[in-house]
Each structure stands twice: as structure tokens, then as C-alpha cells.
């Protein structure tokens, strides 16, 4: 049954955008936890831990996000006999993926802090964890905010891949709307416009943060 594309469809697309945002938020949260661990492993004084962090990053970055989604959603029921919902599969896949990228970004930010700051902390008897917590991380956060916001924009757009495992977010809703209205151009223009409306302010914010931090440093 074909029906006209109308304001109601735009309304439904906007509703679906909520799930895009929800998935982005959860992926960012999960990715931050993983990313923090990976970044700390990468600057650890223990060589095997550094290698572990590096290994995680290269494995995850070397496999397409789409493959992670398929493996988790279709593979787990076959391999482990566990059925996972699209929500769980998407959340886990995006956390793994975001963890590798955020871990790599934040490693760079930690390493941007001069070695002498670590040494000054160590010389006062601070442990590695305390050096990180009180000396390195507070300084690295300033450096980390602009690229982190930049990655968040990537993440929003990449959540569209979750459509392939039936996760109904903005892109999937667009596909569904198109299948009943047969107005692909209109539908996807609206979808694209909504993505743009979500990402553009963040991009601008990231730019202005970069300017602020460059001036104040």
C-alpha cells in the first residue's frame, strides 16, 4: 500500500532520531569506559600492558564496524547459543568500536603532557595511578575535549549502521518510510537533514573549543 509522504512521516523520523541519540549516548558511555582503560594501558610503565592496549586498538580498528555488528548479532547465537537483541548487539559493538578510537585519541592526549610532569610526580613519591589522577589527566583533559567531540560526531553518523541488524533508528526508520511512500529522494533528504541538524552544532562547538584551548595554552 502506497501512501503520501507527509508531516506525520517527518514526525516519525524525528521520533526515531531519539534512538539514534540514545544509541550514541550509550555507545559513548561504554566506549569511554573501554577507552579510558585502553589509554591508561597504553601509557603504563609495564610493557606487556602497553602491548595489550596497542593490540586491542589495532584489532578493533582493523575490522569494519559492520563486521562487529554482524558477528555479535548473527554470530553469537550460532557460536555461543545466546540470542542477543539488536539493542544489546548494537550497544556492545559500538562500545568496542568507540573504545578503540577514544583509547587511541586519549593516549595521544596523555602523551602530549611533558615527561617531566610524570617525573616530578614520581620524585615526590606519587604512585603511577596518583600521577595520572592528579597530574596528567587534569592537564590532558583540556587537550582531549576537541578531538573527543569530533569523534562524537563520527559516532552519531555511524550509528546508522545499526540499521542493518534491524535496530530502528533514524536511518532504519527512513528505509521503512520509503518502503511505504516510495519517495526515496524526499525521505532521505529529510533523514540527512536531521543528521546534519544533530552533527553541525557539535562540529561548531568542537571548532570553538579548539580555538579556546589554543589561545589559553
Amino acid at each position: 500500500m502506497i501512501r503520501e509522504f507527509s508531516l506525520v512521516d517527518i514526525y516519525y523520523l524525528l521520533l526515531a532520531a531519539r534512538w539514534t541519540l540514545a544509541l550514541t549516548g550509550l555507545a559513548f558511555l561504554g566506549g569511554s569506559l573501554v577507552g579510558l582503560l585502553i589509554a591508561v594501558l597504553r601509557v603504563s610503565p609495564v610493557a606487556p600492558l602497553r602491548a595489550l592496549g596497542a593490540g586491542y586498538i589495532s584489532i578493533v580498528q582493523g575490522i569494519p564496524l559492520l563486521a562487529w555488528l554482524f558477528v555479535l548479532f548473527f554470530g553469537l547465537p550460532i557460536l555461543a547459543g545466546v540470542r542477543v537483541s539488536p539493542w544489546i548487539a548494537a550497544m556492545v559493538a559500538f562500545s568496542i568500536y568507540a573504545g578503540a578510537f577514544l583509547g587511541d585519541i586519549w593516549r595521544g592526549c596523555l602523551q602530549a603532557i611533558p615527561r617531566q610532569q610524570w617525573e616530578a610526580g614520581a620524585s615526590l613519591g606519587l604512585s603511577f595511578a596518583d600521577q595520572l589522577r592528579y597530574i596528567i589527566v587534569p592537564q590532558a583533559v583540556r587537550v582531549a575535549i576537541p578531538p573527543t567531540v569530533g569523534f562524537l560526531v563520527q559516532l552519531i553518523k555511524n550509528t546508522s549502521l545499526a540499521a542493518v541488524i534491524g535496530f530502528v533508528e533514524l536511518t532504519r526508520e527512513g528505509q521503512l518510510t520509503n518502503s511505504t511512500t516510495y519517495r526515496p529522494f524526499t525521505v532521505y533528504i529529510v533523514v540527512a537533514a536531521i543528521y546534519f541538524a544533530l552533527c553541525f552544532p557539535l562540529t561548531q562547538w568542537s571548532r570553538s573549543l579548539e580555538r579556546t584551548f589554543r589561545v589559553s595554552r
Binding site: 617531566q116 610532569q117 617525573e119 616530578a120 610526580g121 614520581a122 620524585s123 615526590l124 613519591g125 606519587l126 604512585s127 596518583d130 592528579y134 597530574i135 587534569p138 592537564q139
Partner: protein, 243 residues
């Protein structure tokens, strides 16, 4: 009992031998000035004593504990060995008070108010009592270096290492830092300082060490060593520094 002992210490960076069987004993209360060309190993020697650099041979003992023994708790040891660096290395995101109180609070668990008192007293010793709430970037180089000294003093170390702490400063700022050093020396602190300030070394040091190509080339009372160099290397060095 001696406070610091170095026994045939060897330090290599790759194929480059920076310390070549260095032996040295420091008694409590001694003020040792270490001079020598850049690359002669003097800074590296200091950094080995608090374990910032690992050594490839020999043994370093501080107050009965072997620094280069993997079983030694370096964190505990470093609380008793202060070091001040050429580039100050203050924490730029923390106020002067927090710079000084961070380690006493985190490492020694001192309460907030007691820690502020401690910072105030340490700052008074370096003549900066009024800067307790300032941030490092609001201070001159000389003031930053004095805060760094206060930060080290606040840990109440048994030994203070000073690694060319005036080399990054203008002559007029050098003076204020040296005055503080002299004061700390008078209070009886055991000190080892790498310096290019020959006049200061002569005035304050109880012993002077001249290092050359990774070895202790000459040592003795500062006045004697400076007045009568026994080796052409020291004579050449003094000639270059003093003229």
C-alpha cells in the same frame, strides 16, 4: 653511617656509557657540589640516586637501602630524597599551595589544614609566603624555582638533589634562588647539587666533585680543588667557565 653510597655505578644509554664505575660516599650534612661539562654524567648521577634512571652495573645505597634493588619500594625512598629540576616542573594546573601539598596529602595522608600550614611554612623558608594562592604561570622563573624547592622541602627529605636549578634563569633571578639554597644548606640539609655557579660552589659546598667523561675526575675541599687543579681537564674546564 653514610647517607649515600655509590659503588662502581655504571649507566649506559645504548652503546653510550654515561657513568663509568663511579664510586662516592656522602655523609649526613655534607654539601656536595658537582661540576663538569655537559655530557659528563653529573645530572645522570643525580637521577640515578633517586631511581629516575636505572643503572646497568654497581650499586647505589641510600640510608641503608639499595636503590637499584627491584625489591626496594622506590615510592617510599623518594619521599626521603627531594629533587629539584632545571625546568622547575611545577604542576601548571595547580595553585602554589596545591603544588606543595599534593604529595604530603596524597602520599602521607596529611589533613587539608595541616597541609596548608606545611605549605605556608615551606614558602616562608623560600621567601614566598604571599604567593600561596598564585598559579605557576603568574610567577617569575626564579619564583617558580623557589616554589619547586619549597615543594621538595615540604616532604621533609633527608637528602636534596639539585639538578642545574639556576641554568634556565637570568643572572638576577639566579641570585635569589642561590640565596634560598644557601639558607637550606645552613639549616643542615644534606645536599648534592649539579651547578655551573663556581663561586657559589666554593662558598657553600663542603666538597667539590669534578666529573669528566662519566667519571669522578677530581674531588676534595672546594677551595683546594678550585685553586689547584691536578688535571689538565679541570684546568681547561675552569678556564672556560671562569673567563
Amino acid at each position: 653511617m653514610s647517607l649515600v653510597e655509590l659503588h662502581d655505578v655504571v649507566k649506559r644509554f645504548g652503546a653510550n656509557t654515561v657513568l663509568d664505575r663511579v664510586s662516592l660516599t656522602v655523609q649526613p650534612g655534607e654539601i656536595i657540589a658537582i661540576i663538569g661539562r655537559s655530557g659528563s654524567g653529573k645530572s645522570t648521577m643525580l637521577r640515578c640516586i633517586n631511581g629516575l634512571e636505572s643503572i646497568q652495573g654497581g650499586r647505589i645505597v641510600f640510608d641503608g637501602e639499595t636503590v637499584n634493588d627491584p625489591a626496594t619500594n622506590l615510592r617510599k625512598l623518594r619521599q626521603r630524597v627531594g629533587i629539584v629540576f632545571q625546568s622547575y616542573n611545577l604542576f601548571p594546573h595547580l595553585s602554589v599551595e596545591r603544588n606543595i601539598t599534593l604529595a604530603p596529602r596524597v602520599v602521607k595522608g596529611i589533613e587539608r589544614d595541616a597541609a596548608r600550614d606545611l605549605a605556608a611554612r615551606a614558602l616562608a623558608r623560600v621567601g614566598l609566603a604571599d604567593k600561596i594562592d598564585a598559579y605557576p604561570d603568574q610567577l617569575s622563573g626564579g619564583q617558580q624555582q623557589r616554589v619547586a624547592i619549597a615543594r621538595s622541602l615540604a616532604m621533609q627529605p633527608q637528602l636534596m638533589l639539585f639538578d642545574e636549578i639556576t641554568s634556565a634563569l637570568d643572572p638576577e633571578l639566579t641570585g635569589e634562588v642561590l640565596k634560598v639554597l644557601e639558607q637550606v644548606a645552613k639549616e643542615g640539609m644534606t645536599m648534592m647539587l649539579v651547578t655551573h655557579e663556581i663561586g657559589f660552589a666554593r662558598r657553600v659546598a663542603t666538597r667539590l666533585i669534578f666529573m669528566h667523561s662519566g667519571r669522578i675526575w677530581e674531588e676534595g675541599l672546594a677551595g683546594d680543588v678550585l685553586a689547584k687543579p691536578r688535571t689538565p681537564e679541570l684546568a681547561t674546564f675552569l678556564d672556560a667557565v671562569l673567563h
